[in-house]
Symmetry: C2
Subunit: 216 residues, 2 copies
Amino acid sequence: MDFKTEFKPLTIQPQEIEEKSFEMITEELGEHSFTEDQYPVVQRVIHASADFELGRSLVFHPDAIESGIAAIRRGEKVIADVQMVQVGISKERIYKYGGDVNVYISDPDVVEEAKRLNTTRAIISMRKALREAEGGIYAIGNAPTALLELIRLVKEGLAKPSLIIGMPVGFVSAAESKDELLKLDIPYITNIGRKGGSTIVVAALNAISIMADKRA
Amino acid sequence: MDFKTEFKPLTIQPQEIEEKSFEMITEELGEHSFTEDQYPVVQRVIHASADFELGRSLVFHPDAIESGIAAIRRGEKVIADVQMVQVGISKERIYKYGGDVNVYISDPDVVEEAKRLNTTRAIISMRKALREAEGGIYAIGNAPTALLELIRLVKEGLAKPSLIIGMPVGFVSAAESKDELLKLDIPYITNIGRKGGSTIVVAALNAISIMADKRA
């Protein structure tokens, strides 16, 4: 290929861009009441959304960070509600400890079962996850029905997640599903309101896996 | 699996949830100056973000929608900057007209070339796209460097995209890359400011493929 203008190598490296971004976030966010362990999650969520309102809306169960870190270091599975979450998660730091990142929503048995029961594939995928994962970190960024089903399974004593990152986005059921999550006394990370989404959940999980990897 | 509570089939179907959400968005958005053809993109972006500010920040080149629709119906390729965008795009309506959705950022030759030139894989993936796609729709939700490189290639007359959907998110270079895109007289969809991201770009493209599929 023939370029008229000279190709310039990078004068600023990706790592520097990230560091600079994080500095800007800390400066612009100003005062907040997140703990030192929660803050990296907030920072990375703002980094992924450029939305301080969303960052400030995060709510952490007191055990969320520690339980998430421990689960990653034990090699527990990460279960994503949709493929966008599955591909977005940095795998290296999950694989390193023996874990994996799974998504069941497009599995043929899930599709078939959802049709048979006249329900969503998201719901059935949460039931399948129960059979596939012990404990586990559930990363739900898209489907309120998945989060509501998981909450139901927790209440029934059938699911015992090490961490639920539940931040589906949307106008119908999303905020309500998060309100239900807030009532549970198990480790969760969520936010108040309609905002959220796959990139947000990915950012939160990646922040936790970075912390897990830094532990001695 | 034995459930204590009875499993309830859906009383509201996914299709109804989407319709209800779209009604809420139209009602809450109120007055705006988008055209009839642009509005479905705005609506779907707000649906994916629950962020009216982001929706209102969208900017369309006057030929964007028509050129995007025509490209899909001609079976042109969609090029995504990252895998999250690639997996998020609804493929049926792209495949139906002979198109495909590609992402080159993790290809071994791209990784190697980026190392050799001390630059980002995102930049090199845009150069590879030139060799792989005629015209094409570029969907860039993550990497400002990809968008800036694509703009450079357009200016040099090497790239002639049918549509650029350029909405990378971030604190360093993202808003600036969009300002550069706004200066081009080729079909684009972008937004003002730092916000954006993979889910936003996916929403915009899916809105266009739905419109393409509705054309007689």
